[in-house]
């Protein structure tokens, strides 16, 4: 009872100077925990949550609670923290980034498996997985392209009307970067290729360059979305299309994981594929790119369909 009274006194009669002084330094752990929350959440509640942790202390219970609650904060962002178009634009930019990374990962998977003709006899599940993967990835690309085209045209027209060379260049990157990458790749392969194929070191260099090119291609529209802040039905259509493309792509990668697991289990003649480290690395890459893409797809769809 005495503690309650003391606490109440603290709440109601603390001197103003104590409440309005400069912010106390929060522990690095507190800042690290809050860093896992979405930017809009941090902008609104971050400082007061740090203040709370300064007063309560950063216990394991508080850290665990904050970490657990970060997941729904990402998946179901509070509606009052930002307007729907902003939510859709942010989700669209994120989906484009991760979709591009997944596309490169898909090309690597295709190159290392189907293009090598690797499928152990007597296991049709691998061929079916390959087929599912191919169809899903093609469908995903078509849906993404068709759904984002109207928004891209609207933004490109506006950028040209505003004489914004930076935004125009950003919007052209998704077309220019893949074309340039293919040309550079063809030139490099023409130089380094020999009868044994490309060496593992060169393959790694090409793969890493592919990821860098994909991120560059996606960064252009992301920058343009931040600069122009478009609204309206084109943004909604692009967001829903990107979410469908992301979901289709994830379904394709689920098939690819099945194929990779099949190769690990049954492709005994191909020692490179009967390799647990390779399988786990592939799983980690798929999960690392797929999970944020799925979360953004859920957030974007929720904003696009909200009344």
């Amino acid at each position: 009872m005495r503690r309650a009274a003391a606490s109440r006194r603290l709440r109601t009669s603390a001197p103003a100077s104590a409440r309005t002084g400069p912010p106390a330094s929060a522990s690095p752990l507190a800042r690290a925990v809050l860093a896992v929350y979405p930017p809009a959440w941090r902008a609104r509640y971050g400082e007061e949550a740090l203040g709370y942790l300064d007063e309560s202390g950063v216990s394991v219970r508080e850290v665990a609670s904050l970490l657990c609650r970060a997941v729904p904060a990402w998946i179901w962002p509070p509606a009052h923290l930002h307007d729907r178009p902003a939510r859709m634009r942010a989700s669209l930019a994120t989906m484009l980034t991760f979709w591009s990374a997944l596309a490169v990962l898909g090309l690597v998977f295709d190159q290392l498996t189907q293009q090598q003709g690797i499928a152990p006899a007597g296991h049709p599940v691998i061929w079916w997985s390959y087929l599912t993967f191919d169809v899903a990835m093609a469908l995903s690309a078509v849906v993404l392209g068709a759904g984002c085209l109207p928004l891209w045209l609207v933004m490109l027209r506006r950028a040209r009307r505003d004489h914004s060379a930076r935004v125009t260049a950003g919007l052209l990157l998704p077309a220019a970067v893949p074309v340039a990458s293919v040309l550079v790749l063809a030139a490099v392969l023409g130089t380094i290729r020999h009868p044994g194929g490309v060496s593992p070191a060169w393959f790694l260099v090409i793969t890493v360059s592919g990821f860098a090119a994909a991120l560059l291609a996606a960064a252009g529209p992301g920058m343009a979305l931040r600069a122009q802040r478009p609204r309206g039905p084109a943004v909604r259509l692009a967001t829903i299309a990107a979410a469908i493309a992301t979901a289709t792509s994830i379904a394709g990668f689920a098939a690819s994981v099945l194929a990779a697991a099949g190769l690990y289990l049954w492709a005994h003649d191909f020692t490179g594929y009967h390799n647990g480290v390779l399988l786990v690395t592939y799983l980690a890459l798929v999960t690392g790119a797929g999970a944020p893409a799925a979360v953004s797809a859920a957030r974007g769809t929720s904003a696009a369909l909200a009344r």
Partner: protein, 108 residues
Amino acid sequence: MTDRLDRWADPPLLVLASLADEPKHGYAITQDVADSMGVRLTAGTLYAVISRLEAGGLIEPLEPEGRRRPYRITAAGARALARQSERMSRVAVVAQQRLSMRSGWAGA
């Protein structure tokens, strides 16, 4: 089963009840809920609830005082709290009456 009964201690309800008399900031709310109602809210739960109540228009933020930002219950929040308190009171009265009758039978 007893866990389900704990839903009476729904965190949004506790926060609304805490703010019913005066505005409070986050840490003061958890202290008040712990002292007055015997439930310890963690930071993650508290800010998830504050966010939900704010989105629903049941509480509103006031001007921050340094890092602390007090919250005030709105008229809609007060009405929602009154409705829920009334329901809980009715259940509590019925439950206590029937438990006392049961004790009477047991003693007879």
